[in-house]
């Protein structure tokens, strides 16, 4: 029987005009991943403001919004009343000190000559020290503001950046009067301080772990990242977990609050038996893949082996296929003309995983030849014969 089938099959193969691509079932690595909505965020600590430090009027900004700045770069100039008050006070104190110094010298000479009382000298000394300490305190104050105490003190105060980053925003309009605690501009620290906040459906609560790899799709490119933190709080509105990932490579022109797509892998990549996606066909409520019978026929010389193989095949092959085959054989017996057998088996497969090109399946052995494209034609043939065509 099997030999007869083989004969018919070979004939059919050579008669049949359509060429279908054949591939082998191979192992493929499947990464389990989910594509989720994400948002670019920045941690609060990554932002800093530049304070006015002195009260006064902002006369000039030396930077623009979006400009990258370095530590120590001049940022703004403030015309400060406070500063001029301090400098005139310092001048006054210095004059007083000079007077006190002179008086003290005179008094000490007089005391040495016994002309003055010690009490008087001491009092003078105390007064001088007082002025001195007042000077010191102003000096410290000015020093803190970074104003040199030597020479004349200008009342235009320049503010310098304390850290590097990008000017995110200028907070105070030009020429407005500010007090010392007012933030003038905010600086966003560059580079790695961006995080990707992904919203992950709760179904994956057990799969998503810190350290899992992921990809960020931004501006038509993808960038590697890894999960660095899972926020303890659920996004209440969307009922999704919030997962923070750090980027592993620099991303150009990233904007905070941008909504992006990202892919998070869940679990380690695993190897599965896979076929090309184009091989799949939906047949009688099952996903099926067609395999070539041709392969077996060529080595069908050893009948025993062949028969075994056949049995094995049939064991796996779907019930319906038996029907189809039986039927066409019936035809073959009754009608004398040569019946064309379809040289392909129908295999029901279970889809386990899929990526862009491949699907991981269950139901086929490794290295089985399968029809990797145009499976439509084979399905049509099969349907046609099962619908009762006798061929002509």
């Amino acid at each position: 029987m099997s030999r007869k089938i083989a004969g018919v099959l070979l004939l059919a193969q050579s008669l049949w005009g359509l060429e279908v691509p054949i591939d082998e079932v191979e192992r493929q690595l499947f990464e389990d991943s989910i594509t989720v909505n994400s948002k670019i965020v920045q941690l609060r600590s990554a932002k800093e403001s530049v304070m006015a430090r002195v009260g006064g009027r902002v006369t000039k900004y030396l930077v623009k919004q979006g400009q990258s700045i370095k530590r120590g770069q001049a940022i703004a100039i403030i015309e400060s009343l406070e500063l001029s008050k301090l400098s005139s006070e310092l001048k006054l104190l210095r004059k007083q000190l000079a007077i006190h110094n002179k008086n003290y010298k005179i008094l000490k000479n007089l005391y040495n000559q016994g002309l003055e009382s010690l009490e008087r000298v001491n009092r003078e000394q105390r007064e001088r020290d007082e002025v001195l300490s007042q000077i010191e305190s102003i000096k410290t104050q000015l020093k803190l503001l970074g104003v040199s105490t030597k020479g004349d003190i200008k009342n235009n105060y320049t503010i310098y950046a304390q850290g590097s980053g990008k000017v995110a925003e200028i907070l105070v309009p030009l020429n407005s009067v500010v007090d010392a605690n007012r933030a003038l501009i905010s600086i966003v620290k560059g580079g790695s301080s961006f995080l990707v906040k992904s919203y992950v459906p709760l179904n994956y609560v057990n799969e998503v772990k810190v350290g899992n790899k992921g990809q960020l799709f931004y501006g038509g490119k993808h960038y590697k990242m890894h999960i660095s933190q899972i926020l303890p709080q659920l996004d209440e509105q969307t009922q999704q977990m919030q997962v923070l990932s750090s980027l592993d490579e620099p991303v150009k022109n990233l904007f905070v609050n941008a909504y992006v797509d990202s892919k998070l892998s869940i679990g380690e990549p695993k190897s599965y038996l896979a076929v090309k996606k184009s091989a799949l066909s939906f047949f009688k409520n099952e996903w099926v893949v067609f395999t070539s019978k041709h392969h077996e026929d060529e080595e069908g010389e050893h009948e025993e082996h062949h028969e075994k193989h056949e049995e094995h095949e049939n064991h796996k092959a779907h019930e319906k296929e038996h029907h189809a085959e039986k039927e066409s054989h019936g035809h073959h017996g009754e009608h004398e003309h040569e019946e064309e057998e379809i040289p392909y088996n129908l295999n029901v497969v279970k889809i386990l995983k899929q990526n862009d090109e491949f699907v991981a399946i269950e139901g086929l052995d490794e290295h089985t030849d399968y029809v990797s494209d145009k499976s439509y034609y084979i399905k049509s043939l099969l349907l046609k014969s099962s619908l009762g065509g006798h061929g002509h």
Binding site: W16, G17, L18, T35, N37, Y199, P201, N203, Q237, T238, Q239, Q240, A258, Y259, V260, D261, F282, K284, N285, W287, E327, G330, H331, E334, E340, Q354, Y376, Y377, I378, K379, S380, L381, L383, K384, L387, G388, G389, H390, G391, H392
Partner: protein, 1015 residues
């Protein structure tokens, strides 16, 4: 009464001649005016209701649309049956009515009933189909850009908004159907992610679109004694207008549609395509209104076509693909050339027999006159000149002259016998002598064909025009024979020395010994004939049967069927490969190949897996059936993944219309569950395996359409606060691209859809589509719905509120009746029907069955009618029966001819047998009445001698009537060309019948007379 007519007409000779000149003039006018058609309108009275329900599945459409419509219509008066087909996106209900109702009344009734049908909002609106018959597609054209610069979508737009309205203005055009190309639509392609970013929902966008594309009128104001009208013009003008539609605004800032979506021009999802010679194209199909003349409509269209062509943009042109009238003209040509050669042959025969110019002239003149009178009657009764009605005339050509022959012959004889007598009295008497038998003979022919008018169904529609026309022309000939012929005889006939022409003498010399021999052994002759008849009658019951021979339309068409669920793009690819293959391999025979894939927008129930391929052939194909077979075999082999069914344009429409079945023979399985029906059909298929003559059993695959089923998960919906209506709107508008509003460009309208990006790219992507719900939740479709891929119904057919499935059967080399009988037995034996499920045969067989049943009543009725007429004529039952005895004589020849030419017993052949009835009886009457006459004249002579003398004297008229009838119909037998094959069985039977009937009348009837009246 008859005598009075003859008296009167001979008295007012001039008046009679003027009357006939007027009649022939009127007849000629009618001849030119009578509408021409290939076929009588055989399609049943039918009103179609279709409901477009874009994107919905067959099962839902059946439940929500088809069933309510069906049940609303089922109680209507005059409804014969209701058939329906629910397919993806369309519900199609077809109501068949009794033929006696007026179509406009029926349409009115149906539309009133439809109003009461409750169809859920958004599921479509039922519309009446165009008022046309099933054969209404009279004109197909291609709209083509020869420069190749215009896109398919632009050409479709031209077709829709320019060509179609132009053609629709032609009188008699009911509808123009556009097919192929792409329809433009404007697409707002939404990126769900952006919705999330901007805090906008899908319904916000829908609302924004709906409420922005509005115009309004603001009445008028008066200013300086003038009126100024106020218009609010809010319709979208440009794509930018759509882009800047505000979805939501926050103070001064606003979110525009352009912020969350790309707006562009796109194409609407389509369900069909047209491919010609390997390239996609656009075509139009013009439907003719019921009751209009196809020829005139096409003429008007052709005239309009020039005008349209002239005003189309340069490079774009209309190319004619198919024109019903070419076929019609060919068919009418076939039959009218048969008619013409019939007339010529009859004239020659007449001349040979009469050998006298004047009498031959009178007889020949009666031919066209009777025909013209028939044409006058045809126009009066609204009969069209078609294959069937004209062949009625062709059949009758030989019989028309019979009455005249008898009249002229008698007058001639009398004139020769008494050359000196008063001509007027002589002719008057001779005419009166034969008036009664002539009238009865003609009435008998009429009587034979009148009962045919009561045939109903397809057979009735096909053959009643033929019967009617025979009746018309016979009545015309009666009028001519009784009124005009005596006048002409009086005017023209000259007495001549009685001299027998050579032909007659030779015939008599051969005939006489046979007659004498027969009369010598009367009983043996009668017995032999009886036995022979019995034998042949038995043979006839063994003869195969079929309903109707296939009409050769001189074209090849294929129905190509791929598995259900095949994508349109795949079908287009198959079609184009097929077209290229045929053009490459059959370039000497095939001019062009057209594939009509899926369905056009109106009233078609085909799916993308179905296409019709029409081959335009080059002229002068020698053997079309062989070519069809060759191509069929080749393509079936080359394109193995699809099924090919060869057919022809008209034949296909007829098959489709009559039973909702597209094959000649079919089993309909009725029931509820499609799966059970599929199982039964499988069992039947197995049971019929190996049945002799069974070529193919084709299960109509109703199942097998893969569905992606999105079922809301209520728990999940509750969790996210999503409403089912939101999901469904998403599916309908966002995925299904149902248009939300329309962009109006002049008179053109194009849908504006809000679709989700990549929603229909892949199953996985569909599952992962994001929804932003009203509450702001973002969920993927798969999170709130259970999505699975399932196999479902591809279409659901119903008849009279029951679902059914069709098992098409192709037969080869065996008559249908016996095949059905055997198949029925097998099915009864092997297939177990669950309760509630039953089968019925359909297709040609059913028509045959119905026609046969009817004929079983008609034939006895006809015989009774004839007997009654005969009895009235002879006033003797004996003679009436004697004449009736002639009928078997004729039948015998018919049967022999049928068996020899190996044709099946079809309705056409049965009608041939009926015609033989008439001819045989005519022969009998002529002979019997003359024997009577002679017996009266010479009562002293021996009966045998009287019989011999009478027979010899009547030999000429008998042979003449026989030969004229024979030669009148002979051209039909040898006719080739479109339509010839339909009349072939009929002519075979008649020819055989005439020969046997004439021979046996001349030999056996005298014997019968002898036996009956011998003392």
């Amino acid at each position: 009464m008859l005598n009075k007519i003859i008296d009167l007409s001979l008295r007012y000779k001039l008046l009679v001649i003027v009357l006939f000149i007027v009649l022939s003039f009127l007849g000629y006018r009618s001849y030119q005016n009578v509408p021409i058609d290939a076929f009588p309108d055989i399609t049943p009275k039918q009103v179609v209701i279709y409901t477009e329900s874009a994107g919905n599945s067959a099962e839902d459409i059946e439940k929500l649309i088809t069933y309510p419509i069906e049940s609303a219509l089922s109680g209507m008066a005059g409804v014969k049956s209701i058939m329906s087909n629910s397919i993806f996106g369309l519900s199609y209900v077809s109501v068949f009515f009794e033929d006696s109702y007026d179509i406009y009344f029926l349409r009115q009734q149906v539309s009133e009933r439809i109003l009461s049908v409750d169809i859920p909002n958004g599921w479509g609106k039922p519309t009446l189909g165009p008022n046309t018959t099933g054969l209404g597609q009279v004109f197909w054209y291609e709209l083509k850009d020869t420069t190749g610069k215009k896109s398919l979508q632009e050409i479709r737009e031209l077709q829709e908004f320019f060509v179609k309205p132009m053609f629709k203005s032609v009188s008699g055009v009911e509808e123009v159907i556009s097919w192929g190309g792409y329809e433009k639509q404007y697409e707002v392609v939404i990126e769900p992610r952006k919705l999330q970013a901007k805090g906008v929902t899908y319904s916000d966008i829908v609302d924004a679109l709906e409420s922005s594309n509005i115009s309004a009128g603001g009445q008028y104001l008066e200013f300086n004694r003038e009126q100024y009208q106020i218009r609010g013009v809010g319709f979208y003008q440009t794509l930018d207008d759509i882009r800047s539609t505000v979805v939501k605004s926050f103070g001064g800032r606003a979110i525009l549609i352009g912020d969350v979506a790309t707006v562009k021009q796109g194409v609407a999802p389509r369900f069909g395509a047209i491919s010609i010679d390997g390239n996609e194209s656009v075509m139009g199909m013009v439907l003719q209104r019921t009751g209009t003349d196809a020829n005139r409509v096409v003429e008007g269209l052709k005239k309009k076509m020039e005008q349209v062509n002239a005003s189309l943009p340069s490079g774009v042109e209309i190319k004619l693909i198919y024109d019903r009238t070419t076929m019609t003209k060919k068919a009418v040509n076939t039959i009218s050339s048969a008619l013409q050669s019939g007339i010529v042959l009859v004239a020659i025969v007449l001349f040979l027999f009469l050998f006298e110019l004047r009498s031959a002239f009178i007889v020949i003149v009666s031919l066209p006159l009777s025909l013209l009178i028939a044409f006058g009657l045809m126009e009066y009764f609204g009969l069209s000149a078609n294959l069937m009605s004209l062949s009625g005339l062709a059949i009758a050509v030989g019989m028309i002259v019979d009455g005249t022959i008898v009249m002229v012959e008698n007058a001639y004889r009398h004139l020769n016998e008494n050359p000196t007598a008063n001509r007027t009295t002589l002719i008057l008497n001779s005419a009166k002598e034969v008036a009664t038998p002539t009238t009865f003979a003609i009435l008998i022919i009429v009587a034979v064909f009148i009962p045919l008018l009561s045939l109903d169904g397809l057979a009735g529609k096909l053959y009643s025009p033929m019967a009617l026309n025979i009746v018309f022309v016979m009545l015309g000939s009666l009028l001519v024979a009784l009124v005009l012929v005596p006048v002409l005889a009086l005017a023209l006939l000259q007495p001549k020395k009685s001299q027998e022409n050579i032909v007659m003498r030779a015939i008599k010399w051969v005939y006489l010994p046979f007659l004498k021999g027969a009369l010598y052994l009367p009983k043996i002759v009668l017995l032999t004939v009886m036995i022979a008849f019995a034998f042949l009658a038995y043979q006839l019951t063994l003869q195969g049967r079929e309903f109707m021979p296939t009409l050769n339309e001189e074209s090849i068409m294929f129905r190509v069927i791929a598995p259900p669920g095949t994508a349109l793009s795949q079908s287009v690819e198959t079609a184009q490969n097929l077209e290229k293959h045929i053009l490459k391999n059959y370039s000497s025979n095939v001019e062009s190949v057209l594939s009509m894939i899926g369905r056009s927008e109106k009233g078609e129930t085909a799916q993308p897996n179905y296409m019709e391929v029409l081959l335009t052939l080059k002229p002068n194909i020698e053997d079309l059936p062989a070519l069809t077979k060759r191509i069929t075999k080749d393509v079936t082999h080359t394109f193995e993944h699809v099924r090919f069914v060869p057919t022809q344009p008209i034949a296909m429409r007829i098959e489709e219309l009559l039973e909702g079945v597209q094959s000649e023979l079919a089993i309909k399985i009725y029931g509820e569950e499609q799966k059970v029906m599929a199982k039964i059909s499988k069992q039947i298929q197995e049971a019929l395996e190996g049945l002799e003559g069974l070529e193919e059993v084709e299960v109509e695959p109703q199942l097998g359409q893969a569905n992606i089923i999105i079922r809301p998960n209520y728990q999940a919906l509750a969790r996210y606060g999503v409403k089912v209506s939101e999901i469904m709107q998403f599916i309908r508008n966002g995925i299904g691209e149902e248009s939300i509003t329309q962009k109006i460009e002049g008179v053109k309208r194009f849908g504006i859809v809000a679709k989700l990006k990549d929603a229909r790219e892949e199953i996985e992507e569909l599952k992962n589509i994001n929804l932003r719900t009203e509450k702001g939740s973002i969920v993927r479709l798969r999170d709130v719905c259970n999505i699975e891929v399932r196999q479902g119904a591809s279409f659901i057919k119903r008849q009279n509120l029951n679902r059914y499935m069709v098992l098409g059967i192709e037969t080869e080399g065996r008559d249908v009746a016996s095949l059905v009988a055997e198949a029925n037995e097998r099915i009864k034996e092997k297939v177990k029907m669950p309760s509630g499920y039953y089968i019925e045969w359909a297709g040609d067989f059913k028509n045959m069955q119905e026609a046969t049943q009817k004929l079983m009543i008609i034939i006895p009725v006809t015989i009774m009618l004839i007997l009654l007429l005969l009895y009235t004529a002879f006033n003797s039952m004996k003679k009436a029966l004697l004449v009736l005895m002639n009928v078997p004589f004729g039948l015998m020849g018919g049967i022999v001819a049928l068996i020899i030419s190996e044709i099946y017993l079809s309705v056409s052949a049965i009608i041939g047998f009926l015609a033989i009835f008439a001819i045989a009886i005519l022969n009998g009457i002529v002979l019997v009445s003359f024997i009577d006459e002679l017996r009266e004249k010479y009562p002293e002579k021996a009966l045998k001698e009287v019989i011999i003398e009478a027979t010899l004297l009547r030999l000429r008229p008998v042979l003449m009537t026989a030969f004229t009838t024979l030669f009148g119909i002979l051209p039909l037998l040898y006719a080739t060309g479109v339509g010839a094959e339909i009349q072939y069985p009929l002519s075979v039977v008649i020819v055989g019948g005439i020969i046997s009937s004439t021979l046996l009348t001349l030999l056996v009837l005298p014997v019968g007379y002898l036996v009956v009246y011998r003392r």
